[in-house]
């Protein structure tokens, strides 16, 4: 049997279709079915290549977890900053020109500062994964958001966690030497160090401060100078390669500090642990970390362990994952890839089901998540254990460090 449609029925159907088209949120449906183009900028070659590659590991597994959370898909566009500020700037420009609707990156404060300028000029949201220099979110930028603690936040928590560790072990150094890399992050930490430390009643005084080049090939002079200070502990802001070099020099120069207290990357990273074996045990890192008791932490840990069974979950993975989480969450709520709508949605972020230590992800008026907390983690037998804060720890701290020649 065939049904014939007359002219009036056809006109009614056409009008109904027109009305439906006019009122249907066509753009939203289109945007949500399309994936958000996210330009991920990381130092995947050059001095910081190891860390950039490490950050990228989680980019490769994030899609599945975000999908399980009911969040829209992300189309990842890669940009290698080559550990260079100028390259970071040009790569950001290029990614935006190639259609990136949101940027994520870039581990290093100097490179991130350059990318933030580009993002703001071009009106494309930037979600910073890792970068601690305070000025980045002090510029009044409207498109720049940071879910990572600033240098003063890291320092404040580091001192608080140190006091907790000293109290728990009953061991505290009376003197320390402060060594730091002289890049943007290291200098920002050094500038804040004295001011923030004065707010705490620390048991040690800093007898010398030594700056060094993060690309240095030999740190024997630096360690000799630190050893000559007679300090009981070594407080550091370093990177990966220099952390390995420093440990080698500690062993060779037969210096056994009571504690190695790191306030930056390097000392907890897999390459450090694998390269140094049992000589890598003992340092405590006071770093932005994750709360192992959170639901999403367990999910990320499981996915990460499946994909990379020999690599510990660390700061690089956690905060790069959360940057992508922020992007996907904002895209879902914005219902559009329009940069301004995305930026507004990011500003209104309120994610409680997250990974990092602290109450969750929210941004203040400056685009900074100021609710983040740090943890203290110690290297033990090639693994990492959380020793503070008490609420998010899974082991007790051990001090003083075992002498290198007794291992």
């Amino acid at each position: 049997m065939t049904q014939r449609i007359n002219r009036r029925q056809f006109n009614k159907a056409l009008a109904a279709a027109g009305v439906a088209t006019a009122f249907h949120p066509f753009g939203i449906v289109h945007a949500q079915s399309a994936r958000l183009k996210v330009g991920v900028l990381l130092p995947r070659s050059g001095v910081q290549a190891g860390i950039g590659q490490d950050c990228f590991r989680v980019v490769q597994i994030a899609g599945g977890i975000l999908g399980d959370l009911g969040l829209p898909g992300l189309e990842i566009m890669n940009g290698d900053t080559e550990s260079n500020v100028d390259v970071a700037r040009s790569r950001a420009e290029r990614l935006i020109s190639e259609g990136a609707q949101l940027l994520v990156g870039a581990f290093d404060s100097g490179q991130t500062t350059a990318i933030a300028q580009v993002a703001e000029q071009r009106g494309i949201p930037l979600v910073i994964n890792i970068a601690a220099a305070p000025p980045i979110t002090e510029q009044g930028y409207k498109f720049v958001f940071r879910n990572f603690p600033t240098a003063p936040m890291i320092l404040g928590d580091a001192f608080a966690n140190q006091l907790e560790v000293f109290a728990a072990t009953g061991v505290a150094p009376k003197t320390a030497v402060f060594m730091h890399v002289n890049d943007t992050f290291g200098v920002a930490m050094q500038k804040g160090f004295t001011g923030v430390m004065s707010k705490f009643t620390m048991p040690y005084k800093v007898v010398d401060t030594i700056a060094y080049d993060p690309a240095a090939r030999d740190l024997s002079v630096e360690v000799a100078k630190a050893k000559a200070s007679g300090a009981e502990a070594l407080v550091l802001v370093s990177r990966l390669n220099d952390a390995i070099l420093l440990t080698r020099e500690l062993v060779k120069q037969r210096w056994n500090p009571m504690a190695v207290l790191s306030m930056g990357p390097g000392w907890y990273e897999d390459q450090y642990l694998k390269t140094l074996g049992k000589l890598g045990d003992g340092p405590i890192s006071f770093v932005p970390w994750y709360d192992p008791n959170k639901k999403l932490s367990k999910r990320l840990e499981a996915a990460h362990a499946k994909a990379y069974p020999d690599i510990n979950l660390n700061t690089n993975h956690i905060y790069t994952f959360e940057a992508l989480l922020v992007a996907a969450d904002a895209y879902k709520r914005a219902g559009s890839a329009d940069p301004k709508a995305l930026a507004d949605a990011i500003r209104a972020t309120d994610i409680k089901d997250n990974v990092s230590t602290g109450p969750g992800i929210q941004f203040n008026a400056k685009g900074q998540n100021d609710k983040l907390k740090n943890s203290a983690i110690q290297n033990r037998g090639g693994k990492l254990v959380v020793v503070a804060p008490k609420g998010a720890s899974n082991a007790k701290p051990e001090l003083p460090m075992k002498a290198y020649d007794k291992r």
Binding site: R44, S45, G46, V47, A49, G50, Q53, N182, I210, A211, Y212, D213, A215, R217, D218, L219, S220, V221, E222, A224, K225, K227, A228, N241, I244, L245, R248, V251, K252, Q253, R254, Q271, T275, L279, Y404
Partner: protein
């Protein structure tokens, strides 16, 4: 600060400087004879370092033993490079030679990045974490062995140029190009041999440095620059000058770092270079250009 700290740092600087000196010796030999400035010198050294790393992984021999086969491989590499690529540029303007060797350096860095990746890689020997204690002095064992090997290689090189017929022929080419041609020396072959010897020096230095530092492709350009600072300080073309330059730069960096600030230690090396250029432009042991 206790005096032993200065002694420790000075000893460390001198030992490192000897290895640097051997590396720069290769540059000086090549320039002294072939009159080509090797702008890919540091990159050739990182190539030797990676070869050492690969060979070490395969046969587990000490890098100081591996320096012999590595130097031999680099000799062949240098010889072929000169015969095939650099020889046609010998009589071309200096900027052409410069562009050729800079291009070669870039190619070497990028090939190393592709093949070996950007991560720092090192060798762990039985003595990697050892040190010797001599009274108040604590000296890094790896540096002592590497510096000792550098001295042996440098002595062998001096002996080769002084007492062998081939060495004398190469020196003749360096002293008087036309004269060498007139007496029937095969100058092209001698140039290639010289480039090979320079590359072998770099190869030996690279193998020794693997016992002391980690390698990444990115360190090549920094070592090219360092080699230039050393040979210009010691005297471009002077073999003893290269060794002296290495020792001086190693010592200056080390003492500058401990006396002032370690992050500025390279500044002192460049400061020394500026002083040498101001007061003795031909370098400490260099000869003044005639005419």
């Amino acid at each position: 600060m206790p005096i032993e700290i200065y002694l420790n740092v000075a000893a460390s600087g001198l030992l490192t400087g000897l290895v640097y000196g051997l590396m720069a010796l290769g540059l000086s030999v090549i320039f002294g004879v072939v009159r080509v400035v090797n702008f890919a010198h540091g990159e050739m050294m990182t190539l030797a370092m990676y070869l050492t790393l690969m060979l070490f992984s395969a046969v587990k021999l000490d890098p100081l033993v591996l320096l012999v086969p590595i130097a031999a491989v680099m000799f062949v590499f240098g010889y072929l490079l000169q015969r095939g690529l650099i020889n046609p540029f010998i009589n071309r303007p200096e900027h052409s030679q410069f562009m050729l060797l800079v291009a070669l350096a870039l190619i070497l860095v990028n090939v190393q990045l592709i093949v070996f990746g950007p991560d720092a890689q090192g060798i762990r020997t039985a003595y990697s974490f050892d040190s010797f204690q001599l009274g108040p002095l604590i000296v890094d064992a790896s540096k002592v062995y590497a510096a000792g090997a550098a001295l042996v290689v440098a002595a062998a090189l001096f002996a080769f140029f002084r007492w062998t017929l081939l060495g004398k022929a190469i020196r003749a080419c360096a002293d008087n190009y036309d004269g060498a041609l007139v007496v029937g020396l095969n100058v092209k072959r001698l140039y290639a041999l010289t480039f090979g010897i320079g590359a072998a020096c770099v190869g030996a230095a690279g193998a020794m440095l693997m016992a002391v530092i980690d390698v990444t492709p990115e360190i090549g350009p920094a070592y090219t620059l360092l080699a230039f600072v050393i040979v210009i300080t010691g005297g471009l073309g002077s073999m003893p000058g290269a060794l002296l330059g290495g020792l001086l730069i190693g010592l200056t960096e080390a003492l500058g770092g401990v006396l002032f600030t370690p992050s500025a230690k390279s500044m002192f090396a460049f400061g020394l270079l500026v002083l040498v250029l101001l007061f003795r432009p031909q370098g400490i042991l260099g000869r003044k250009a005639s005419g």
